[in-house]
């Protein structure tokens, strides 16, 4: 143990030294004495004061007493109050001071050395057990918009804290003490008139609550402040609140004018007023509420701020054309005040203002009023010099002016073509009648004969029919004057006269068109020296012929142009406009449209007819009533149902026919549309079925064919009757051939079948067939017979001695002889066949080899090489001819060669064609009248018809093709 005590002594020594140092320091920093805490509940500020020491720096500690939570602990610079000898320092609490008790203690500080803490001073809150009820603080706080406020709720003893609501928002609460809870609201929005409620409720019992109302608003903000005088003595100052402070009732803004409180600042349309008994020249308005204050100033002389009161006791002395207004002011100071007054005059829908000036104005004369008119007037005035503002309007005064005689009526006349007519005048308006019209009087007067007749008409009559013929019967004068007067209770109007010409002017030679421009028909004419009293321009609907609705206008003497305007002008209506001298002499005459429209209907009576391939369209003129503009022409369309194809544009109204040329067969629809400058009408459509001219061609061809058939029949009949002669002429008996050797292996008759081609045309230009070998048939008949044959032959250009050519077979139908035979010739060459132009039967040399073997062919070739006549072989089925044994030699000598021939219609024709093909081009002699002259049966049946029909068909085809456009 001693060892332990020995080891402890250094620690004890250090503690003693520290204690000495500390004691020394405490001796230097005096402990604050008599600490006093003074609260300001409204500002939530506590003033702390104490005595003692010379230090200026103190440590202040503030705690929530109940929970011993530090609210504030810091060094503060205290203020020494020389008067009281106490140090003072203020602190503002975030929470209302009623929320909970606060403990305050202070110690003085000198550098790092501090004194002992003072005794604790407690500021009692309202959460003491002795105050047991529910409470809410602060009470009725007025805060600025956007600010922050901390509220606290003190729960009743025994109660359970539930919630705190700010307005409609539930807030999070912070516990300050056993019974006290606080919420802090930031960015507070302006409250309504009765404030924003902050309500604290018990968690268990709804009826247990506490609350407060907070008023969030703005400090006053003034604008538009000015002072004026109404009575030239006192002042009335006005201003506006630039924004609503949101504070009302006992929290409202309080105003003072030049330090005198405004007892009751009037409020109207955000305009506040405050009055002063005397004008002071300089004015200052101050406004204050719980959140702040504002002031605004104005300075002016009283004469510069005169705003007169409303004229009082306004009255009027009324006449027909004017009235005198009287009123009074009520302040003597106005008598010397130069005033400018404004009279607002209301009548019907019109409102005019007139201005009058005078010193102390109390009466004025309203001139230029209309008789028999109701007026309402009111007056207001302002200072003429240094005008400030108009005063108030007086109470309106109504009166009616007296009546007067009517104005002169506007009279005109119109004579129809049938010499009937009318005297017409425009109804007098209320402005012109000056009172209810009682009647009209029309007086006819013949100047030369001084005859006079008067008719009285009721007030609703504005026209008197006349008959010029009847008037003429009663007077020898050239003209009659009609005078019209209107009458009302005040008397007669000035008379209005019009001259009735007793002859009707001819309009036809002076008509011209006039354009409508800038809202009217622009008329220009040359001044007529005879029209010394002016002109009358009259217009009416051009379609109207009798008792038309007339409009007219009278122009002064010397006028040479006018723009005729009328609300009655309608688009699409043509107007007749006539210029008369004042003596009713027609000077000029126009027609025009206010606005042209497209015709209202299609062209009438559209018709169509066909001639050949053309169609002719015709139509009639558009009726005047449907034109609605000047017809400029017509458009002709081909109507394809889906669209209109413009065919022609015809200019001029008179162009009312059109021809569509070169139409092919088909149905066509044409649409014709008349057009004005405004466009086309709806169009008239007509259709036509164009008959093809082929029908005519077919008819012509049939007629031709019939004629040809008739001629051929006649020829056939002739040939039949003269067949012997024909046979002699064309088919002479062939002499018996002489056979020198064995001409064939078999001595049977030669079966010469006809070529598949039954038509043979002898080529008329043998020189073109130079490539072919030529066999010349030399008949043995006498010259006379040969001559006969030549005369009777169809081929009249054939030489007297028939020549047979080797030929190439053409299966095509025989065509009529063409002028250009080279075509047919060449085509024959191309096909490997040759047309032989001849009215006989064609055959083929190849047929000769049809029924012979190779040797036969060789023998035939030998025969062909010889000259002289050679018999021809024929098929057994035909007329058997004796076959000369030396035929091959004869053929070779260039004489007659036999040819095979068979019926065209024989079966196996195609096959035979093929078999014959290798023989084409080989020199073959054909010479047989048998072939050239068929028997009478075949002649009658078809061998003549076939070429005929083929020829006709070809001609028909050519016609068709040539007929096509």
């Amino acid at each position: 143990m001693p060892q332990l005590q020995t080891r402890r002594w250094p620690v004890w020594l250090i503690c003693c030294l520290l204690s000495v140092v500390h004691t020394h320091a405490q001796n230097d920093a005096t402990v604050p004495q008599q600490v006093k805490v003074t609260p300001d509940m409204r500002t939530q500020q506590i003033s702390i004061s104490w005595l003692g020491g010379s230090a200026t720096l103190f440590d202040v500690m503030i705690l929530r007493t109940e929970l011993n939570e530090t609210v504030f602990y810091n060094q503060v610079q205290a203020t020494f109050n020389q008067t009281t000898g106490r140090y003072e320092w203020n602190w503002t609490s975030a929470e209302p001071l009623e929320c909970t008790s606060l403990s305050v203690r202070i110690r003085s500080r000198r550098g790092a050395v501090t004194s002992e803490w003072s005794s604790t001073q407690i500021l009692q809150g309202n959460d003491l057990p002795t105050i047991a009820n529910y409470q809410m603080y602060p009470e009725e706080r007025i805060v600025r918009t956007g600010g922050s406020t901390t509220f606290c709720c003190i729960v009743a003893e025994g109660g359970v804290f539930g919630s705190v609501q700010y307005g409609k928002t539930a807030m999070n609460a912070t516990r300050l003490s056993r019974r006290s809870y606080s919420i802090t609201v930031t960015h507070q929005a302006p409250s309504n008139r009765t404030g924003t409620n902050v309500v604290c409720t018990d968690a268990l019992e709804k009826t247990k609550l506490s609350g407060t109302a907070v008023f969030v608003g703005y400090p006053p903000l003034l604008s538009d402040f000015h002072c004026e005088t109404r009575d030239l003595t006192s002042a009335v100052c006005q201003w506006k609140e630039a924004r609503d402070t949101r504070l009302y009732g006992k929290r409202r803004t309080v105003y003072s004018l030049n330090k005198r409180k405004c007892q009751k600042a009037g409020l109207g349309e955000n305009l506040m007023t405050c009055s002063a008994e005397h004008w002071e020249g300089n004015w200052t308005l101050e406004a204050a509420n719980a959140l702040g204050r504002d002031s605004i100033s104005d300075s002016a002389e009283i004469r510069h701020r005169v705003r007169p009161v409303a004229p009082a006791n306004l009255s009027a002395v009324v006449y027909a054309w004017n009235a005198t207004l009287r009123w009074n002011w009520g302040y003597d100071a106005y008598n010397s005040l130069p005033l400018v007054c404004q009279v607002e005059l209301n009548f019907h829908e019109n409102k005019t203002k007139r201005t009058y000036t005078s010193v102390g104005l109390t009466t004025l004369r309203l001139s230029e009023l209309y008789p028999n008119e109701k007026y309402s007037v009111k007056v207001r005035c302002g200072a003429q010099q240094n005008f400030w503002k108009w005063g108030n309007w007086s109470q309106p005064l109504s009166f009616k002016t007296n009546i007067d005689v009517p104005d002169q009526p506007d009279v005109w006349m119109h004579i129809n073509n049938d010499n009937s007519g009318q005297i017409i005048w425009k109804p007098l308006t209320a402005r012109e009648s000056h009172g209810p019209i009682a009647s009209y009087e029309v007086t006819f007067w013949s100047p030369k004969e001084n005859l006079q007749h008067t008719e009285t008409l009721p007030p609703d009559t504005f026209m008197l029919p006349i008959n010029v013929t009847r008037i003429t019967a009663f007077t020898n004068d050239n003209q009659v004057v009609a005078t019209v007067t209107a009458k009302n209770a005040a008397g007669y109007s000035p008379p209005a006269s019009v001259i009735i010409p007793l002859r009707v002017a001819d309009k036809s030679h002076i008509e011209s068109r006039v354009a409508y421009m800038d809202g009217g028909f622009r008329l220009v004419w040359q001044d007529d020296s005879n029209s010394s009293c002016g002109y009358v321009i009259e217009w009416h609907d051009a379609l109207c012929q009798q008792d038309c609705y007339l409009e007219w206008v009278k122009l002064a003497m010397g006028s040479t142009n006018a723009s005729i305007e009328s609300a009655n002008f309608r688009p699409g209506v043509k107007y007749n406009i006539s210029l008369f001298s004042c003596s009713s002499e027609l000077l000029q005459y126009w027609q025009g449209y206010m606005q042209e429209l497209a015709p209202s209907r299609s062209v009438p009576h559209l018709s169509i007819r066909q001639e050949d391939s053309n169609v002719f369209l015709t139509w009639e003129a558009m009726p005047e009533a449907h034109r609605r503009g000047y017809i400029l022409g017509y458009n002709i369309y081909l109507n394809n149902d889906s669209q209109l194809v413009l065919l022609a544009n015809l200019s001029g109204e008179e162009s009312r026919k059109y021809t569509v040329k070169g139409l092919s067969k088909g149905t066509y629809k044409f649409t014709v549309k008349a057009f004005t400058s405004a466009g086309e009408d709806t169009g008239a459509t007509i259709s036509i079925r164009v008959d093809q001219l082929d029908d005519w061609l077919i008819l012509n061809m049939l007629i031709s064919l019939g004629t040809l058939a008739l001629l051929l029949s006649i020829a056939s009949f002739f040939c039949y009757r003269k067949r012997k002669w024909v046979k002699t002429a064309f088919c002479p008996d062939i002499p018996q051939p002489k056979l020198n050797d064995d001409w064939g292996r078999t001595q049977g008759p030669l079966d010469v079948r006809p070529s598949p081609h039954n038509l043979v045309h002898v080529v008329e230009k043998p020189e073109l067939d130079s490539l072919k070998g030529v066999l010349v048939v030399i008949p043995e008949e006498d010259e006379e017979e040969a001559d006969r044959i030549g005369d009777a032959s169809v081929d009249t250009d054939e030489p007297a001695s028939l020549r047979y050519y080797n030929q190439m077979i053409d299966e095509r139908p025989v065509r009529p002889r063409s002028p250009d035979s080279s075509d047919s010739s060449s085509s024959s060459m191309d096909s490997g066949q040759t047309d032989v132009t001849y009215t006989g039967i064609q055959t083929s040399a190849s047929s000769l080899g049809f029924h012979t073997d190779q040797r036969d062919s060789a023998e035939f070739g030998m025969a062909a090489s010889g000259d002289g006549y050679r018999p021809q072989r024929q098929p057994a089925s035909h007329n058997s001819l004796p076959i000369p044994p030396q035929s091959s030699q004869a053929a070779c000598s260039g004489g007659y060669k036999p040819q095979s021939s068979w019926d065209l219609n024989s079966p196996g024709e195609a096959e035979e064609q093929e078999r014959l093909a290798p023989c084409l081009g080989s020199p073959t002699s054909v010479a047989s009248t048998q072939f050239l002259l068929p028997d009478g049966e075949s002649e009658e049946r078809g061998e003549e018809k076939r070429p005929l029909s083929a020829s006709a068909a070809g001609w028909f085809t050519n016609l068709l093709s040539s007929a096509k456009p």
Binding site: M136, E139, E140, Q165, K168, N192, R193, T194, G195, N197, V199, K206, T207, L209, G211, T212, A213, F215, Y248, G249, K250, R252
Partner: protein, 197 residues
């Protein structure tokens, strides 16, 4: 208490266009009472819409308008007279509420404030009607407000307390308007029979 308030409000919210009970004095008084009943309920509704925290606040604090306790069931005439006396106190409360509100917040033009003025006029009208209906040579009836506005009346506890107090006044109005309807209905039944009810 809350159920009673709800029942009163529901009854009060009946349309004022319900059939009027004829043109007899009691009929007219009954019609007026019904109209007042509707308007008081509507006024309470508007006020709770304006001060929303009151919508969930049950009535408390007992009757503001009290009549002398009577053990016996009064006859219809007497019940109507008691009703008349209660309405006079209600009128006094309403006068105080209006004056205090205007002092506190100024004169507004909201629907509540407009209807509040209407209810005051209607209540005065009903008092005049019932006075004419019930007054006899022996019994004189007054129509003036029977309550003076002082701190004892409204508590003068600030704006929030004024709102609570006003709410109580409106509840009282609804209650006594309903009571007046019932009393006048009984009186009308007694005087006019079952017809026109």
């Amino acid at each position: 208490m809350a159920e009673q308030q709800q029942q009163e409000e529901e009854e009060g919210m009946r349309s004022p266009n319900t059939p009027v009970p004829g043109g007899s004095p009691t009929g007219k008084a009954l019609s007026l009472a019904r109209l007042l009943q509707y308007e008081c309920s509507r006024l309470l509704q508007l006020y709770t819409e304006q001060e929303t925290f009151l919508s969930e606040l049950p009535a408390e604090g007992g009757r503001m308008v009290s009549l002398g306790s009577s053990t016996e069931e009064p006859d219809p005439e007497e019940a109507a007279r008691r009703m008349h006396a209660a309405l006079r106190q209600c009128l006094g409360l309403l006068h105080c509420a209006i004056a205090r509100a205007e002092e506190e917040w100024g004169e507004g033009e909201s629907d509540y404030e407009t209807l509040r003025y209407t209810v005051r006029i209607r209540l005065e009208h009903l008092l005049h009607t019932t006075k004419n209906l019930l007054q006899t040579d022996d019994v004189a009836l007054e129509v003036t407000p029977d309550i003076r506005c002082d701190e004892e009346t409204d508590g003068s506890g600030g704006a929030f307390q004024l709102k609570l107090w006003t709410h109580r006044v409106l509840l009282e109005l609804v209650h006594w308007a309903d009571h007046a309807t019932q009393a006048l209905h009984v009186l009308h039944t007694q005087r006019e029979g079952a017809q026109d009810v």
